[in-house]
Amino acid sequence: MSLEPQLDPLTAAANMAEMEPPYTQQQARVEASRCLNCFDAPCITACPTGIDIPGFIKKIEHAKDEAAGRTILEANILGASCARVCPTDVLCEGACVLNARDEKPIEIGRLQRHATDFLYDRGIRPFSAPTEKSGKRVALVGSGPASLGCAAELALLGHEAVVFEKSEQPGGLNTYGIAYYKMPPAISLQEVDLIRSLGVEFRCGVEVGNDPTLAQLREEFDAVFLGVGLGQTRALGIPGEELEGVVDALSFIQSFHAGPLHETPVGRQVVVLGCGNTAIDAVTQAKRLGAESATIVYRRTPREMSAYYFEYELAMGDGCDFAFEATPVEILGDGKGGIRALRCRRTRPAEGGGVETVPDSDFELPCDMVIEALGQEKQQEWLASVLPGLELDRAGRVIIDPASGQTTLAGVYCGGDAVNGGKEVVNAVADGRKAARGMHSAFTGEQVSGPVQASRHGVAGEPSGSGYWEPVRVPERARAKAGL
């Protein structure tokens, strides 16, 4: 029995609408006025792209939403999607000094959304690429956040960027892999349009590897950026995985990004395996698309899950269930090719920090859909085949020079999930921008840095207050005291 859509169009749209409503003008001004305007603010340090957060917030307070949006996009070209998908609790808002004054931190994410929406709602293009081009051309493989961050920065620095994407639509996981209530795909696509308006070329439906090969790209272009992310969702390797109704989480999420919401097939009783960010997205989306029950099966306890606590709370609020300390052992068929239930076994903490199964503890969870969200595999084999000589670390991550983003192959740069093993959109954008600056430096010998806050000891070469852990003043002061 194949799975069917569960909801009518209106209900589906209402359930999947963006969770947080946008600010009204007054709400934004009031919230902005709470910001203390810290100097060398911790929120900036906590942001991988180093957005001048107090700067843009004060612009909102003084009714300059367009300027605020420009400040955000100058540092992070995907500012609109990051405003929605960033785990702000653990980044900028988690670092807000108001937490230490026992107050609610500034709602930086919502303010950022207010400012960037102002631009997109009005079709404002906040900047344009220089008319004088360097003549340097860069090929970018994949069109996810890392490549988008890289391509935008390259275009703004006067270089030509060509993005190769195997899917029909650009944007990678930003377009296809974000839970709807966080962000609909239209947000990602409008960001792609902004980047396209800077002169970046997108070639979709082109799979790099055979035609063109990476060797051809390296030959034809002055540099190559690998924004290839991670590979397939890990398979579990238990009996029954071949049954109809077993899907991987990314394919499930992609299915309703590509087609209308109300045409998305979903089970009545859904089980999600795993408890990371994607698992939460999958379980909540299944529930919101009409599943009667949606249950996460996770072999450890809530303390060990890699999902953020606010995601856990969200899933609880959506009425999702959690079977902790249980591991799947077999997917049971209904005899007609579909699923009848998931057989699970209890687990318990084992000595040495792992978990072990409990003998004679099997139980069945009735279900007709199993979504696997066990993390994505690295792409070691594919990378080795298309780019011989590219060095990876033991975990299968691409090794890069942390300053320039260049891999162990000359002229080949990399960033995002392929390098960090799977982090946030904002980390990927920051990586992409860093690689673009690394290329710019290789092309021209010029250094590009973020905004620098001068101190009495003069402006040093390093950026401060822009995502770097240690502000410039400490080493500067040491140098000044040493009489250098």
Binding site: L36, C38, D40, A95, R456
Partner: protein
């Protein structure tokens, strides 16, 4: 509980809180509401030849989302006839015999002054306030601040009033003058029983940047308005203290200007006011605010062991000295409580760019990170040898009691600028070297 009853230049009221002359004291209806809410007195909206007002009339200065930090108006005196106003004054005075109903007056000739003064007393007003301060409209007709700004004219008008007055007379002073004590002395010379200050300050609060016309907007134009509200309190305190300290004034002072809380009230009293008038705060929040003011003042007096309001009056006035008498050898410096510091670095950047470069950002070391601060995030450190004790960091710090100013024992005897000059002249002291 301290006794709040007030005896001001012969005017009795159950407490020192009076509704100032203005829009909240325009009618008997408002007067009743004020007394029901607990106010001790009402100074009626200024009575004179009825005027015609414009629309609009008010405007505000907002700061960081806080509305009406400053406020201004281009409204004139009462637009009702003296007959109506005096009839309503009588109604209020009869109904509230323990309270102070005071008639505010503004007119021109000696005859008219005599007439209004007598009719006010006949209506049962407990006192009269002369409006010599209104800075818009009326001054163009030779009244209001046009009088207050000219001590000789003011003295003459006061003497006319005193010829007819059988109830206490308060002269309300304008701050739009170089030396307010000159006007206060004129009031004294004219025979007034008391002064009240400050009236509103000439102002433009804001310009509408779309129309390029200031507010309040009147058909494509605007006019200078009278400024009041919390923002004017420091100016009012300065002028109240100046009059309180002036040997040639020696009149009871009714303090006006930005009073909205018990704290404001206590400060005016401490600098020499013995009754208090409130308008803008009522226009913002209504008459109900008096409850907090009365309770707060009473609690404060109790905490200071003072039985009456009178014991507080003028207590702080003598500590305001001329600069030349301040001790050059007194020293204080800033101290940061790292357990309270939240890491905003506002002290650092204020001192760095705005003052004396006496705070460094340094590795936290053994001072720890403070609440919520990121490990390794630099913390502000006072460079004690550079700190001049200016207070700036403690003023910008957003956490209560995080940066405090601490007295430093210099081991030096008191030396004022005045003494220093004299000793220098006598060759008994070496010049203090200039700051590098």
């Amino acid at each position: 509980m301290a006794d709040l009853s007030t005896h001001f230049a012969g005017i009795e009221s159950p407490n020192p809180f009076w509704v100032a002359s203005g829009p909240p004291s325009n009618t008997a209806y408002q007067c009743h509401r004020a007394f029901e809410a607990g106010w001790g007195g009402v100074v009626w909206k200024t009575i004179g030849d009825p005027i015609v007002n414009v629309s609009s009339r008010y405007s505000a200065h907002n700061v960081n989302g806080q509305r009406m930090v400053g406020f201004n108006n281009i409204e004139l005196i009462s637009d009702r006839s003296p007959e109506t106003n005096l009839r309503e004054i009588k109604e209020c005075a009869d109904r509230w015999p323990e309270h102070a109903v005071i008639a505010s007056l503004m007119t021109d000739t000696r005859e008219n002054w005599h007439d209004l003064v007598k009719r006010s007393a006949d209506a049962g007003a407990k006192g009269i306030e002369l409006n010599f301060g209104c800075p818009h409209g009326m001054c163009e007709r030779g009244m209001g601040s046009a009088v207050g700004q000219n001590p000789d004219v003011a003295e003459t008008l006061v003497s006319w009033v005193m010829e007819a007055a059988e109830i206490p007379v308060i002269v309300k002073l304008t701050p739009n003058i170089t030396d307010v004590t000159a006007a206060a002395r004129a009031a004294r010379r004219g025979g007034a029983d008391a002064i009240s200050l400050i009236n509103t300050i000439n102002s433009i609060t804001q310009v509408d940047l779309d129309r390029l016309v200031p507010e309040p907007y009147v058909g494509g134009q605007s006019a200078h308005g009278g400024y009041c509200g919390p923002a004017v309190k420091p100016i009012a305190l300065n002028m109240v203290q100046s009059c309180a300290a002036d040997e040639d004034v020696r009149l009871p002072i009714s303090g006006i200007g930005g009073i909205g809380t018990w704290r404001d009230a206590a400060e005016f009293l401490a600098l020499g006011a013995s009754s208090l008038q409130v308008c803008t705060a009522i226009m913002h929040y209504g008459f109900r605010i008096v409850e907090e003011m009365k309770e707060g003042l009473s609690d404060y007096l109790d905490s200071k062991g003072m039985a009456t309001v009178g014991e507080l009056v003028g207590k702080a006035a003598p500590t305001v000295n001329s600069w030349e008498n301040l001790d050059l050898h007194y020293k204080r410096i800033a101290a940061i409580d790292y357990d309270k510091c939240i890491g905003c670095n506002l002290c650092y950047i204020a001192c760095e760019d705005g003052a004396h470069q006496a705070i460094d950002l340094v590795a936290p070391g053994d001072r720890g990170n403070g609440p919520g601060r990121i490990e390794g995030k630099p913390i502000p450190e006072i460079v004690e040898e550079e700190c001049v004790g200016c207070n700036l960091c403690s003023l910008v710090c957003p956490v209560d009691d995080c940066i405090t100013m601490v007295d430093v024992e210099t081991g030096k005897e008191e030396l004022t600028w005045k003494q220093y000059g004299e000793l220098l002249e006598q060759g008994k002291i070496d010049p203090i070297p200039a700051h590098p």
